[in-house]
Symmetry: C2
Subunit: 339 residues, 2 copies
DNA sequence: ATGAAAGCGCTAACAT
DNA sequence: ATGTTAGCGCTTTCAT
């Protein structure tokens, strides 16, 4: 470190306490003194030492961001955008974000992320499916936790959630309003709350339109919701069902798998089958046709998670919140009206 | 913080200096004392305070990882894997990694990443194309810098580089050995050192085989090397050239664009055209056919960058290194032998 | 409104 | 081989 609080105090002709108060926006300082101090801070290009600060305040100024490796390395930059949203927001605040991954199949014997063990963070953001054993192991820990895009029961954690039910309704209603009645649902693991809720929306939309959805058209399994899995489930769906005209895939990755399956089997999109995805990760993907999907504001999810976490840190009474982030349908060319 | 060095000293019946020496693996301590201290450290679950440590040592224990936003948000997890390699390695060491993005068109008036301004990192890793203005602005700074996957001239920075020339040779020789003579090259910005070198390898392989490459078959532009751009350049290539039988695309993203173009224009891969990419990002992409490509060890690139940076931090004489990481060709089904 | 001074938890001389 | 002690740069009472 170069220039310290002492240098500033000396140059400005005040005590270090005064400098400290100015730096921390304490209003007990006269505006002249403040101005003077601020000026010499600029002149000297002074930045307070984080470590000295942290040592006194018993904070770290860091927040930890945990992602499972499969999420971080997803082909589509879904979770990286959520991270970036948090990082953008952290730049405004006084925080740094430490990103780490844990294995998706985290077991009780795996160590907790290092920043938790050695208390290098003041709080934690976890995005996407959280390994249950991780939560268990985290249980003893007193750090505030915000969970993004994953729902957990009766926990003292705040949640930033996608409005999945409404998204499912939007996607399905769009299909129904375009005349589709025999609609398939392609999901991943139905035990994943997001997928469960999207299916829920799927059913609700049918109900509202007085259509009975056929359970045989609902295809899920316990695999990771990626393209390959979408392909496989599309095969299941179309070999056991004739005359399906619309498909709602629970995310864009699976929708792309469905596209591949349909092309391989000489179905035309949207002439033969209309297809709706979820997430909106298609930019730069060069899909043909462009995919109608439900847009999820990924940057906003991350930013909101950061804000909620910091507000809990500041108020240090942890009042768990649950925030639903709205979604919208983006109609592109993978869906069309039928008579 | 909870348990401090004092608690450990007290419980173990030694001085805090002794505890400190044990923690820092100083060999001036008798093995009995060491054992005793280590035991009570375990018992008390003691972790040294980073901030206290950093305050004394004038280090931060952090290293900064800079990526341009377009790279971080690339569809294929290329740079995120490089980051992860660094992060894996940091877990072994005593470091944390702060990840931030800068705009790809960073200008002189954009602020440097915050962790540089307030000196919250001991060193920096930059991956991928580095905005020139960033480097200029970084000039005054004394922090060691390691650059991954991008070449800069006459700078005191260490480099971890892909062996692009050899990769270009491998890709092209594979085509040539399979009987191809009229081979196209699809690149992005030829001023990007990696692309320049891959083209270099392309030419070298032709030379070795005594084939004169036709400049009209080399298509580059200044755009970002993504799928769309690959598509566009493929159109250029195939409309101005007949009977091309092989294409080397300078990365997988562009190769995918080429694939799309070929499919849209009723070329069969590999029956009509053999296609080779570069990077190996295809896992989970569901390409048809699977792409022959040059594999780049992304995790290893990041890990190596971290190692080099830390070794410079430790030796604090900055001896800039240049490390070439080898590549290999992965033959899949997008290439075939012609007579 | 400002300053003096204690102390956060640790490392590194220096002493023993 | 181990202990004593002086800071590192800051925040925060407590005085003034």
């Amino acid at each position: 470190m170069n220039v310290t609080i002492k240098d500033v105090a000396l140059k400005a002709g005040v005590s270090i306490a005064t400098v400290s108060l100015v730096v921390n926006n304490n209003n007990r300082i006269s505006s002249e003194t403040r101005k003077k101090v601020l000026k010499t801070i600029k002149a000297l290009n002074y930045y307070p030492s984080r470590s000295a600060r942290d040592l006194v305040s018993k904070k770290t100024g860091n927040i930890g961001f945990i992602l499972t490796d499969d999420h971080f390395l997803r082909t589509e930059p879904f979770y990286t955008k959520i991270f970036l949203g948090a990082e953008f927001e952290a730049r405004e605040g006084e925080y740094y974000i430490l990103l780490t991954t844990v294995k998706a199949d985290f077991t009780a014997s795996d160590p907790l992320p290092r920043f938790i063990r050695d208390k290098s963070v003041d709080g934690i953001i976890i995005a996407g499916k959280v390994p249950p054993k991780l939560i268990e192991k985290l249980g003893n820990n007193s750090m505030p936790v915000v969970v993004v895009d994953y729902q957990m029961e009766n926990k003292n954690y705040s949640h930033i959630l996608i409005d999945n039910i409404h998204g499912g309704i939007l996607a399905t209603e769009h299909l129904i309003q375009n005349g589709h009645k025999k609609i398939g649902f392609i999901g991943g693991d139905i035990n994943h709350p997001s997928i469960y809720e999207r299916l829920n929306g799927f059913n609700k939309a049918h109900e509202r339109a007085n259509i009975i959805p056929d359970n045989n058209r609902i295809k899920t399994n316990t695999g990771y919701p990626d393209r390959q899995n979408g392909y496989n489930l599309a095969r299941e769906l179309f070999t056991s069902n004739k005359n399906i005209t619309g498909v709602f895939a629970c995310n864009d990755a699976m929708a792309i798998g469905v596209m591949h399956y349909l092309k391989d089997n000489n179905y035309k999109i949207p002439q033969d089958v209309s297809l709706v995805g979820f997430d909106d990760v298609e930019a730069d993907l060069l899909l043909d046709p462009p995919l109608t999907t439900v847009r999820v504001p990924k940057i906003e999810l991350g930013a909101e998670a950061f804000r909620v976490l910091v507000s809990q840190l500041k108020n240090n009474k942890i009042q768990p919140k649950k925030i639903l982030v709205p979604v919208e349908i983006l109609v592109r060319n993978s869906t069309k009206k039928i008579q």
